[in-house]
């Protein structure tokens, strides 16, 4: 690493990392929940 990075603005990189993580994990959670609801709903028919 060349020198200190103190004081530099990394807002875009930090935001991108957190948003990508939230979107991917959230999408997976939504998908597994939707699949469960679909099959458990039919199971009660």
């Amino acid at each position: 690493m060349d020198g200190s990075l103190i004081g530099e603005d990394f807002t875009l990189a930090i935001t991108a990392s957190w948003v990508i993580s939230a979107l991917c994990l959230g999408a997976l959670a939504a998908w597994v929940t939707a699949r469960y609801r679909k099959v458990s709903g039919k199971d009660h028919d």
Binding site: M1, D2, S4, L5, I6, G7, E8, D9, F10, T11, A13, I14, A16, S17, W18, I20, S21, C24, L25, L28, A29, V32, T33, R35, Y36, V39, S40, K42, D43
Partner: protein
């Protein structure tokens, strides 16, 4: 052994893990939210890389879970292979997609972090290359399950791949020690203990626990779903068999029983 046999019954498994599902989900949401607030709002900047260290709180837990999920798959595969435990095979299969996602996130967030601190999006050093290999192993594992139609044969083939692929886990872990790498050496799980201050270690630990609870939620919910799907398919089979019998013994008069709308469709 008795515990394995005890959990082999799908209905018993559902009864035991049913209450744990919402707990895991709420725990995951709560821990990740708390960890995010602490990491982004109250944890200090690094003395060298400044605020860029905030990426650590999503990158490191993702990398840990990428490896932990694979270890879970390898152990479940061993149990399924040796003791023919069908739920263990299902657990291994359903852990693959979350593991793949965690690995992808570790690579993507690591790439972003590397760009701003090292000046490069990627380097073929031992750590990054072995993590990329892990991503390919996950993809190959999921593809193998889908490629073989017979579920029992698919389970055995996939289990063998999973167990052999587990050799990559110590390679990933010790890659920064065995080889000269761009990736930094371990700063948490070390023989001398963590080299990270508590103000960073605590939010990192909370995020890691949140990711672990999330993985547990994913896998348990998928297992519940698969068990219900199998039960639904098993109930549908006698109904299909009855309608097939009607077609093979047509009535002497009346409309053609083999016309569309009657009996089993492919």
């Amino acid at each position: 052994m008795k515990m394995l046999a005890f959990l082999a019954n799908p209905d018993r498994f559902r009864r035991l893990t049913g209450p744990a599902l919402p707990v895991a989900g709420l725990l995951a949401a709560g821990l990740i939210l708390a960890g995010a607030v602490w990491a982004l709002g109250f944890s200090p900047a690094d003395r060298v890389q400044g605020e860029a260290v905030k990426i650590m709180y999503v990158h490191v837990p993702a990398a840990w879970m990428a490896m932990a999920a694979y270890a879970f798959i390898a152990v479940a595969s061993l149990v399924g292979y040796v003791w023919r435990h069908s739920l263990a095979d299902i657990a291994a299969r359903e852990a693959a997609l979350p593991g793949f996602v965690f690995t992808l996130l570790a690579l993507v967030t690591g790439s972003i972090w590397g760009r701003i601190t090292w000046g490069v999006w990627w380097d073929w050093d031992a750590r990054m290359t072995s993590m990329l290999a892990l991503l390919f192993i996950y993809a190959g594992y999921m593809a193998l399950w889908r490629a073989i139609e017979n579920e029992g044969q698919a389970a055995r083939a996939a289990a063998l791949l999973a167990m052999v692929g587990a050799i990559n886990l110590p390679i990933i872990k010790f890659s920064v020690d065995f080889w000269e790498t761009l990736h930094q050496k371990a700063s948490v799980i070390r023989a001398d203990g963590p080299s990270m201050p508590a103000s960073m270690l605590w939010p990192l630990a909370i995020m890691a626990l949140g990711y672990t609870a999330l993985f547990a939620f994913y896998v348990m919910l998928r297992m519940h779903t698969v068990i219900l799907e199998k039960r639904r398919d098993a109930r549908a089979r006698p109904a299909r068999a009855a309608s097939t019998a009607t077609i093979s013994h047509p009535a002497p008069a009346g409309p053609d029983p083999s016309s569309p709308g009657q009996g089993e469709h492919a």
